[in-house]
């Protein structure tokens, strides 16, 4: 019998330059647990390097962590890639790294990119320009995510900056998103009118948290048998009694 799971599928850690330092995997998991979130996706900017440690900590609290990445396309559109297997997420990351704008992160301008371990100890810093854009188009990024068995979700489509509609004006034909993310800021009714052309694609909402207090400020219910990636896919398809409650 499918039951409803609360999911926050867009959370940044302190590895994202624009996140607060307090966004360590341990604290994120503690906060999510306190809020009753049972599935979360770690989606740092252009990297998956903090997924595994978060997943390890979350397992002990009975929370499922989905491997995610928020990719910046050549049009400066943000797209979430969610993966069932960490190896697939790392394959995606390898391509993103290869195509990411060159240069080193300037932590004064953009913020530090901190890698931490299970005990909240700093392991080091990612030096890449994670805030930068790749030279891969929206169409290509979605194809690649699907090629690695992932789910492609257009980030915060109601946001002017870095949302697909703000950057391109529309969702191009032939780009097959598995879901569209409506940000916590959006007025639901207004969103229904404004994005009525895109009602055939499932909608989700998530926190896009960059600070601990933002976690869970917007979540989506998924009616599923288990809290797994494969079940998420079924729910987004509305298949076999699974569904998304937006």
């Amino acid at each position: 019998m499918p039951v409803e799971f609360r999911a926050d599928l867009h959370i940044h850690t302190c590895l994202s330059p624009c996140s607060e330092l307090s966004m360590t995997p341990g604290r994120i998991v503690a906060r999510a647990a306190a809020l009753g979130i049972s599935i979360m996706a770690v989606c740092d900017h252009n990297t998956v390097e903090q997924v595994e440690v978060t997943s390890t900590i979350a397992k002990k609290r009975g929370i499922r962590v989905i491997a995610g990445i928020e990719i910046n396309t050549s049009e400066e559109v943000h797209i979430l890639g969610l993966f069932g297997k960490l190896t697939d997420a790392f394959r995606m990351q390898a391509i993103v790294y290869e195509h990411l704008q060159l240069g080193e992160n300037d932590k004064e301008a953009f913020g530090p990119q901190v890698l931490v371990n299970e005990n909240e100890e700093v392991l080091g810093f990612n030096k890449r320009l994670l805030i930068g854009a790749t030279d891969l188009s929206v169409n290509r990024i979605v194809e690649l995510i699907h090629g690695f068995n992932g789910l492609a979700i257009a980030s915060h489509i109601d946001r002017e900056g870095f949302g697909i509609i703000g950057q391109l004006g529309f969702i191009p034909q032939g780009v097959e998103f598995d879901a569209l993310e409506i940000s916590y800021r959006a007025d639901r009714e207004e969103a229904h009118t404004r994005f009525r052309l895109y009602r055939h694609i499932p909608w989700i909402t998530s926190s896009d948290a960059h600070r601990l207090e933002d976690i869970g400020r917007s979540t989506t219910g998924f009616v599923m048998e288990h809290s797994t990636f494969d079940e998420l896919r079924l729910a987004l398809k509305g298949a076999e009694g699974r569904k998304v409650i937006f």
Binding site: C18, S74, E76, Q101, G103, D106, E108, A109, F110, I131, G132, A133, E160, G161, F162
Partner: protein, 113 residues
């Protein structure tokens, strides 16, 4: 050329009154892609854009830009203004569209090199 002179000549609205506008402008760059500005704008340049989000300040600060001019009467987001004041990055705005504004900056003698 001083930023103050450009503000006066083009009747720009200063969105960040506390930021220092008595600085030298060495050139200008127009683009709405942050990655492009990071790659091509130079120290002391003015940047003309329609983007109003927080990250424009980070890019301006990283590149040592003299300031940002928003076109089409665009209003900077609140957190953008806050960050601009922290980083001392002047933000101005104009009712003109990019094409018109850039033409006038060119006529004032600014170049992109």
């Amino acid at each position: 050329m001083k930023l103050q002179e450009i503000i006066d000549s083009l009747s720009l609205k200063v969105e960040t009154p506390a930021a220092d506008i008595n600085r030298e402008v060495t050139g200008a760059y127009v683009s709405d892609m942050l990655s492009d500005v990071m790659g091509n704008a130079k120290d002391g340049f003015l940047w003309i854009t329609l983007q109003i989000h927080l990250n424009i300040v980070a890019v301006a600060s990283l590149k040592g830009l003299a300031g940002i001019i928003l076109v089409n009467n665009r209003v900077p987001a609140e957190d953008t203004l806050k960050k601009a004041l922290q980083e001392n990055i002047p933000i101005m705005s104009s009712p003109l569209p990019s094409f018109e504004l850039v033409g006038r900056l060119y006529a004032l003698g600014l170049r992109c090199r």
